[in-house]
Structure formats: structure tokens, C-alpha cells
């Protein structure tokens, strides 16, 4: 227990350091002291402008998107009892992107202006994500005993969703085409305060549900029959966990695009560090996911300056080999 707390504390410190560096880094470097002062509201006027309007939205969005995707992946892995489940693997990320582009296509007028409030965008992301998630789970859920089957359906439907995204990008009159491109790879460069508030509220609203789900998720470490025999309403808990996972992934994708592999990698790393208990693993996954995307965003800004490389490209470049390693690994995937 103390080891767990110490590790969580260290992770929190690592994330704070990454956040401060992320906010401080840019065309003019700000030291941590100046970043903290500006965040606290006691900094110089110029620092305040740089921090609050230029840098914070991007860094905060990267962190929140990473945390949301990691939580989504952790919930999916628990609910499906499949260690390879993740929002990008099950077609949820790409489904959300389809929803977003569908929204942009049908709600843009001839001059590429939106005819309805942009606040509807996450709702469409949610619809797209839910649609594709349901398809994958219905098709793959018939073969419970075979974890790879679920994955294959997910990969097939994700490919379909990707094709739809490209099609909609080319065919549709798209509102700010450059912004639309971020859903292909995932990016936080165009972050706005509005996006941060939106994703922040999705995470905030999911918090009480997560707290209520902690014990049921612990019980779900048992196989479904044993879990039910000990009194867990298995179907309801799975349904709630899946719905929350879809909502979190949809929220992240609608504002930051399909940042790949964070939802797969972070829960696994958290599992290795914190074991199978739900509360520490979920908190650890959220912190790790936030640190991964913040770090990846920092990397693209430092390494590829002045080019803007989507942060999703980095997480995918790091995540894909890990995914291959997982697929290749033998033995008990859940231990």
C-alpha cells in the first residue's frame, strides 16, 4: 500500500514537471518559477498572456486527452477482460472521428461556416464512437473465449471508419479543413480554452461514476460467473464501464483527435506498477496517460521545430512496437 502511494506520488511529480516544462517551452522559454507565478496570477503581464492564452490550453488539452484515453482503455480492458482492448483498437477512436466529420459535413454551409453551435460536435463524436463500439462488441462479443476475435473485428471496423474519415474529408465541405486533419492522427496544436473546458467537464463528470465503479471493477477481476456468484450484477457493471469508456474516448477524440496507443499503453504500464486493484490502477493509468501525451507533445515541439508534427504520430510510433510485443507475448495475458 505504501509502495503504491509512493509510486503514485512520484508519477504525480513527474507529470507536474512535464506540465511545467511543457508550458515553459516555446519560442520564448519560461523557467518553472515564472510559469508557476503566472499560473498563480502573480506573474508579469507578458508571462500571463503567454501562459494563459498561448501555452496552457495546448498543454492542458494534451494532459486531459491522455488521461481520458488511458482511463477509457483501462475500463475497456477490465470490462471485456481483454488485455488488448483499447479505444483505438476497438474502433472507438475512429468512430468518434467519423462522428465529428459527419457533424462538420452536414452542418457547414457553402462558405464553410458552421450553421449550428460547435458545442454539438462532441455529441456527434459520442454518437460515432458509440455506434462503432456497439458494432465491434456485438460482433466480437459472440466469441467470448477468443480475445483475438474481438480485436480483429475492432481492426476491421477501425479501417472502415478511417476510410469514411478520408472520404468525408475529401468530399465534404469541411469547416476549417486544416483543423479537420487533426482527427487523422491526433493533435493538440490548435487547442482552445473551450476544448479544455469541454474535456475537463467530461472527466469531471466521470469521476463520481469511477468512484462508484471502483469496488464493482475490483470484483470483475473474477471471471463473470464467479463475479455473479459472489453478488456482482455483472451485465450492469460491464455496461456502465463500457459506456463510460466510450464517453471518455469520444470526449478526448472530439477535441484532440485520435491520439493512438495511449489508451493501450498507459493501462498496461499502470497494471505493472500498481497491480490489479481498480483504484490505484485507474489513477495510475490517468497520470501515466497524461504524462505520455504531455511528453509526446513536448517532444514534437522540441524535435521537429518549426514543423508541427501531430502528437498522435509520436504516441503511435512509440505505442505500435509495444502493441506488437503484447500480441507476441505468451502466457497469462491477465496476470
Amino acid at each position: 500500500m505504501n509502495v503504491t502511494a509512493a509510486r503514485l506520488g512520484l508519477l504525480g511529480m513527474l507529470l507536474s514537471a512535464l506540465l511545467l516544462t511543457g508550458i515553459g517551452t516555446g519560442s520564448s522559454f519560461l523557467g518553472p518559477d515564472r510559469v508557476i507565478a503566472a499560473l498563480w496570477g502573480t506573474g508579469e503581464r507578458m508571462d500571463m498572456v503567454i501562459v494563459w492564452t498561448l501555452r496552457l490550453p495546448r498543454v492542458a488539452l494534451a494532459a486531459l486527452a491522455g488521461a481520458a484515453l488511458a482511463l477509457s482503455g483501462a475500463l475497456l480492458q477490465r470490462a471485456t477482460r481483454n488485455p488488448l482492448a483499447a479505444p483505438s483498437v476497438l474502433g472507438i477512436t475512429d468512430g468518434a472521428a467519423v462522428g465529428v466529420l459527419l457533424f462538420l459535413t452536414i452542418s457547414s454551409d457553402a462558405a464553410n461556416h458552421l450553421t449550428v453551435p460547435v458545442a454539438w460536435q462532441p455529441a456527434f463524436a459520442g454518437l460515432g464512437a458509440t455506434g462503432f463500439a456497439l458494432l465491434v462488441l456485438l460482433l466480437g462479443g459472440r466469441h467470448r473465449a477468443d480475445p483475438l476475435r474481438l480485436l480483429l473485428y475492432g481492426v476491421a471496423l477501425a479501417a472502415l471508419a478511417k476510410a469514411l474519415v478520408v472520404l468525408l474529408l475529401i468530399v465534404g465541405p469541411v469547416y476549417r479543413a486544416s483543423q479537420a486533419l487533426i482527427w487523422l492522427a491526433g493533435s493538440v496544436q490548435a487547442a482552445q480554452g473551450r476544448d479544455v473546458v469541454l474535456l475537463g467537464s467530461v472527466l469531471g463528470l466521470s469521476l463520481p461514476v469511477l468512484i462508484l465503479l471502483a469496488r464493482p471493477l475490483d470484483q470483475l477481476r473474477l471471471d463473470p460467473d464467479s463475479a455473479f456468484a459472489t453478488g456482482l450484477p455483472v451485465a450492469a457493471v460491464r455496461g456502465a464501464a463500457l459506456a463510460l469508456a466510450v464517453a471518455l474516448a469520444a470526449g478526448a477524440v472530439s477535441v484532440a483527435g485520435g491520439i493512438g496507443f495511449v489508451g493501450l499503453l498507459a493501462p498496461h504500464a499502470a497494471r505493472l506498477l500498481f497491480g490489479s486493484r481498480a483504484a490505484p490502477q485507474l489513477i495510475g493509468a490517468a497520470l501515466l496517460g497524461a504524462a505520455m501525451t504531455t511528453g509526446a507533445d513536448l517532444l514534437v515541439r522540441l524535435a521537429f521545430q518549426p514543423l508541427e508534427v501531430p502528437v498522435g504520430a509520436v504516441t503511435a510510433a512509440l505505442g505500435a512496437p509495444f502493441f506488437l510485443w503484447l500480441l507476441n507475448r505468451r502466457g497469462d495475458p491477465h496476470a
Binding site: R215, D218, Q219, R221, L222, D223, D225, S226, F228, A229, T230, G231, L232, P233, V234, G275, S276, D332, H334, A335
Partner: protein
């Protein structure tokens, strides 16, 4: 005969389009060990799942006391009837105590977590299966017999008046099998639980159970006290074998041999 604790009435259940049994009626008396026996695929495990509501009935009812099991929430039902399946699964980093603690889900408060009553039940269960010394060991580091006992501890910690066990001696060597069945007997005779156990081994069933239920092709072909059901003609019919019952100092034993029909067919094959 004591009161009926669990019953199936005109029950039909199966998987997909295949019905494993229909019109099955079965009564389990309170406070005794009832063993369900029969050849593979005869419906004994399916009957157990139907009693625990792990499988929906297509027809008929599963009753506990005199109320259908479908009338209770998952949590309430778990306080009345526990079950250990054939292949339970849990992550290897759980300790023995953690695993036993999972048996307390239906009792522990949703908000404050496990309390004194839960800890007492877990300790009692661990000592009943003789695992108190290994309480803090991760289950991945247990031997097969220890792991099976850890799962039994979870089931016992649930403190349900009825316990269903599906092949609890599977994969156990004979010493651990005897130990496990000894615990099963104590659960019924010392702790007053009603125990239903699916057993492959007829001799162990006859030795440790109070009552036998013999299944064949989804039908009950005999049920009652061991002395009434453990008969050569009944066992021959159920398993399609010839057999003899011999009395030993620990109880009756069945000695199976190929029945005359099968032997005749075998003879013909050899001759040809």
C-alpha cells in the same frame, strides 16, 4: 427427509439451440451433501448453473426456499447461495486473503469497504481451508491444491447457507481431493450448510455425500440416500458399463467393467 432447500421444477435449459435437459425436477435437502453424478454431458453442471441463475431457464423454475431465484437481486441471491465453478479465474497478483475477501462482496458496505464482520468471516474461511499461514501469498505462487483451497475459501467466506461446487476435486491429487471433500462434509455437518457438489468420481461421491443424484442424458435416473442409489443395476444403466459394488472398511466401492453388450461388440471387432 429434511426440508427441501433448493429445487428445480420442470426445468429446461441449454446452450444455443441445444437443450441439455427439459422437464427436470430435482430436490436438494437442507444441511446435507448432495452429489450430482453421471457421464460427461449428462446435464449435471448445467443443472448446477441453473440453480445459481448463471444460466436462464427456458421453462420451469429454480427455487431456493419456496421462491424462484429470478426474484432476487444479484446481491441478495449471493447472500443465499454461493457457487464455485470448474474454471474460476482471477489475476495472479491477488493474495489468498484478497481472493477470500472477494467472497464478501454481497455483505460488505458499498461505501466503507470491509468491516470487522468481513474480516472475521475471511479469517474463519482461511482457517477452514487451512490456508491461514499463506494468507499474504499471491495466488500465482500457489500449488494447484492450494489454489483450489483458496477458491474454496472465497466461497466459504460468502457465508451463504447453500454452496454449489462444480468438480471441486478436478486437477487435485488424491490427498488434496480427500482433504477438499472432508471440508465439504464439515460445511454441511458442522456448519449446517446445504452443499451440492458435482463429482466425477463415483466412489468419492458415495463416501462423502449423504445423497446421490444420478443423471443420464438430461434426466434424473435415481436420487436418494447413497445406500438406496449406489446400486449396480442403476450405475450400470447410467454409465453404460457393467459393475460390481464391493464393501470396504471406508464404504462401498464400485468396480466397473465393460458391459456384456460392449464386450460382445469388442469381441466381434477382434474376430474380424
Amino acid at each position: 427427509m429434511p426440508d427441501t432447500h433448493i429445487a428445480l421444477r420442470e426445468a429446461a435449459a441449454g446452450y444455443g439451440v441445444r437443450l441439455v435437459f427439459e422437464g427436470l425436477t430435482l430436490e436438494i435437502p437442507a444441511g446435507q451433501v448432495t452429489a450430482l453424478c453421471g457421464p460427461n454431458g449428462c446435464g449435471k453442471s448445467t443443472a448446477l448453473k441453473a440453480m445459481r441463475r448463471l444460466l436462464p431457464l427456458r421453462h420451469g423454475a429454480a427455487l431456493i426456499g419456496d421462491r424462484p431465484v429470478t426474484e432476487r437481486s444479484a446481491r441478495t441471491l449471493a447472500r443465499e447461495i454461493a457457487m464455485l465453478g470448474q474454471t474460476p479465474e482471477a489475476p495472479g497478483d491477488l493474495t489468498v486473503r484478497d481472493l477470500a475477501g472477494l467472497g464478501r462482496y454481497a455483505h460488505a458496505s458499498r461505501f466503507t469497504g470491509p468491516g470487522a464482520a468481513d474480516r472475521a468471516a475471511i479469517d474463519a474461511a482461511l482457517s477452514a481451508v487451512d490456508l491461514s499461514d499463506l494468507a499474504d501469498r499471491p495466488i500465482a505462487a500457489l500449488s494447484g491444491g492450494q489454489l483450489q483451497r483458496a477458491w474454496l475459501a472465497m466461497t466459504v467466506a460468502q457465508e451463504a447457507p447453500a454452496i454449489l461446487l462444480d468438480e471441486p476435486t478436478n486437477h487435485l491429487d488424491i490427498a488434496h481431493a480427500l482433504e477438499t471433500l472432508d471440508l465439504v462434509r464439515r460445511l454441511a455437518h458442522e456448519m449446517g450448510r446445504t452443499v451440492v457438489v458435482v463429482l466425477h468420481d463415483l466412489n468419492l461421491a458415495a463416501r462423502f455425500a449423504d445423497r446421490l443424484v444420478l443423471f443420464r442424458d438430461g434426466r434424473v435416473t435415481g436420487q436418494g440416500p447413497v445406500s438406496e442409489v449406489f446400486r449396480p443395476e442403476l450405475i450400470s444403466h447410467v454409465f453404460d458399463i457393467g459393475c460390481e459394488i464391493v464393501m470396504t472398511s471406508v464404504g462401498p466401492m464400485v468396480v466397473p467393467f465393460k458391459n456384456s453388450r460392449a464386450a460382445a461388440q469388442d469381441g466381434q471387432r477382434k474376430a474380424a
